[in-house]
């Protein structure tokens, strides 16, 4: 496959995984939590690197999941200590992220890991870092990892679809039905962390946040059904990946930055033109809503 093809495929895989997880994220009102986790994952990666001195995928995944869970636990704990939810998210993620940045700047510096890389990703190099598959084909390492993560996420989401749906829309009902709401919360947080770190290496933290929240929010404007929302938001992710790449090639600029920008364009379009919740539809609709 061509160079551009691999890049678009990588970004699309990120878009699909993030779209599915992001839909749930949006409905569970955890959008800023995703922002927090995408920052603290850095600390997990750096710690894993300092402990093992290698940048392999598995170590980084474990470190990232631990960092993500730690963030969720700390936020929960501070909140239970009487700090506002928002403020506790702000305290936890900025502190952990700062520790990560300082570790990189002072101890790991000049190694393969640097802050610029983690923020903006190295999607340009993805097509060259290849692995051999058992049946002979060689594909970029990131594509393999993202595919595995996508399969895992699909399995968890489809396997527990009913549970996710009910905890997202009505956590109180879910708890009264005897569902393990807390456990599901932490499973979900782990899912966000895994998605984040798998995408992180490829596209950087900014694009992860953009891909997690923005396509899901756009899809939320088009539909009322969870399954359709997930599919649409994956589709919007792919669309943003392709158009972002074209913008980046056209202007010769940062690929992940352009893709993040493209998710914004898709959202703006949805905000204006969505048939039921869009601005135009709102203007055209009679000011007194018809009785149902």
């Amino acid at each position: 496959m061509s160079y551009a093809g691999w890049i678009i495929l990588t970004a699309s895989l990120v878009g699909i995984s993030c779209g599915i997880v992001g839909s749930l994220l949006l409905l569970r009102r955890m959008a800023m939590m995703a922002d927090a986790i995408s920052h603290t994952v850095l600390l997990g990666i750096v710690t894993a690197y300092l402990l093992t001195r290698e940048l392999s995928g598995v170590h980084m995944l474990i470190g990232a999941v631990i960092a993500g869970l730690l963030t969720a636990l700390l936020v929960q704990w501070l909140h239970s200590m009487g700090v506002q939810q928002e403020a506790s998210i702000g305290v936890v993620f900025t502190s952990l992220f700062a520790i990560g940045v300082v570790l990189i700047a002072t101890r790991v510096g000049n190694a393969h890991l640097d802050v610029q890389h983690t923020l903006m990703g190295e999607i340009t190099f993805i097509p060259w870092e290849r692995v051999e598959l058992p049946w002979g084909a060689d594909i970029p390492e990131a594509v393999l990892m993202l595919s595995i993560v996508l399969v895992v996420i699909l399995a968890v989401v489809i396997g527990l679809y009913k549970e996710w749906k009910i905890t997202a829309f009505d956590p109180a009902l879910a708890a009264s039905l005897g569902l393990p709401v807390t456990l599901l919360h932490y499973v979900f947080v782990s899912m966000v962390s895994v998605t984040t770190v798998a995408s992180f290496d490829a596209v950087g933290a900014i694009l992860v946040v953009a891909m997690l929240i923005t396509p899901a929010a756009s899809a939320y404007l088009w539909t009322d059904r969870l399954a359709v929302m997930m599919a649409l938001s994956g589709l919007f992710g792919i669309l943003s990946a392709i158009s972002g790449y074209s913008i980046a090639v056209w202007l010769d600029t940062s690929i992940s930055g352009s893709m993040a920008f493209a998710t914004g364009l898709v959202f703006l379009l949805s905000l204006i033109a969505s048939p039921r919740h869009g601005l135009v539809a709102r203007l055209l609709r009679p000011s007194v809503p018809p009785s149902p």
Binding site: L26, R29, M30, A31, M32, D35, H39, M81, G82, V83, Q84, E86, A87, S88, I89, G90, V91, T94, S95, F97, A98, I99, V101, V102, A105, T106, V115, Q116, L119, M120, I206, L207, V209, A210, I213, T214, A216, A217, Y220, L221, I247, A248, L251, D252, T253, S254, S256, G257, S258, M259, A260, F261, T263, G264, F267, L271, H277, G278, L279, R282
Partner: protein, 307 residues
């Protein structure tokens, strides 16, 4: 202070004043329950910084600050628009603006970095903050604006208090909520844009959030909270700058945030009104109070049974 160049002393002063101002505005944000708004707005300021740079063609702080303020305000307006005109909640709206504006900023940044001479502009330092890269002129602009914000906050102390704790009553007394909200947003954006040079767009929010939360552990009075938060903010600004000045080319922002986080941990454990230790002692006392009458009750019942 030994070992500090005159420039470093200037920089130290400016981060001190910046920390103080952001500590106070951070308290306002805390009570408005808008802590994460500062995070969204500081990320949203990045495109403006770069557009400001491109317009002048060199690093000219006032123009860049102006650009940053405009783009942060556009971000704030978008968040408001998304929240009020669609069914998307505020947190998601902040996430969208934060990531899209920042992505746009990165896009512009890598465009500009290819231009001749831009590599030395130190634009990259706006992401993580490089206080050492500031010159005396920058420091003057920064300190002046920070003092201006401090002045607004202190002169209208009574009005702020009223507006934050009982907006409906304030409105009744003729203090327009709209007006106060605009002044608040202006102060917030000003603090953010002067801070991004020293602390960086990513961590600027920490300087607004952490001191206020830390101060909350020491007091229940709004006035004291402001004073403490200002002290914590100023202190972490100064300590962080000192630490980063002694290292070679270390970014300032993370060190400032780590200093703030340490102050937070101290407040969390030792805080005199909501700290962990005080809470534990209070709980212990409560539990003893609770147990005593129950024992008496039990013994009375046993006495009744035996009779």
């Amino acid at each position: 202070m030994t070992g500090l160049s005159p420039n470093a002393v200037w920089v130290l002063c400016s981060t001190l004043i910046l920390g103080t101002a952001s500590g106070i505005i951070g308290c306002f944000a805390y009570w408005k329950r808008q802590s994460l708004m500062s995070d969204a707005l500081s990320h949203a300021a990045l495109p403006g910084v770069i557009i400001g740079f491109v317009l002048v063609g060199e690093k000219h702080l006032p123009v860049m600050i102006g650009g940053a303020a405009i783009s942060a305000l556009v971000g704030a307006w978008f968040i408001h628009l998304i929240r009020s005109s669609s069914r998307i909640k505020e947190d998601a709206a902040m996430g969208i603006i934060l990531s899209v504006f920042f992505g746009f900023g990165i896009m512009l940044l890598s465009l500009v970095n290819r231009m001749a001479g831009a590599g030395q502009s130190g634009l990259d330092s706006f992401i993580f903050g490089q206080a050492a890269a500031m010159v005396v002129k920058d420091v003057r602009v920064m300190s002046g604006l920070a003092l201006f914000v401090l002045l607004i906050a202190l002169l209208a102390y009574k009005e702020w208090k009223l507006h934050l704790f009982d907006p409906a009553f304030a409105q009744g007394l003729g203090l327009s909520n709209r007006f106060m909200n605009s002044v608040y947003l202006m102060c917030l954006v000003l603090v953010i844009v002067i801070g991004i040079q020293a602390v960086g767009v990513i961590l600027m929010a920490a300087l607004l959030i952490i001191p206020a939360v830390s101060a909350r552990y020491w007091t229940h009075s709004f006035g004291w909270m402001l004073i403490l938060s200002a002290l914590f903010g100023g202190g972490s600004g100064a300590i962080g700058t000192l630490l980063s000045v002694y290292g070679k080319g270390w970014p300032t922002g993370p060190f400032i945030v780590i200093s703030a986080a340490c102050l937070f941990l101290i407040s969390l454990t030792l805080g005199s009104s909501k700290g962990l230790i005080i809470m534990a002692i209070q709980q212990y006392r409560q539990r003893r109070l609770l147990h005593q009458p129950r024992i008496r009750e039990q013994s009375a019942m046993e006495r009744g049974r035996s009779a």
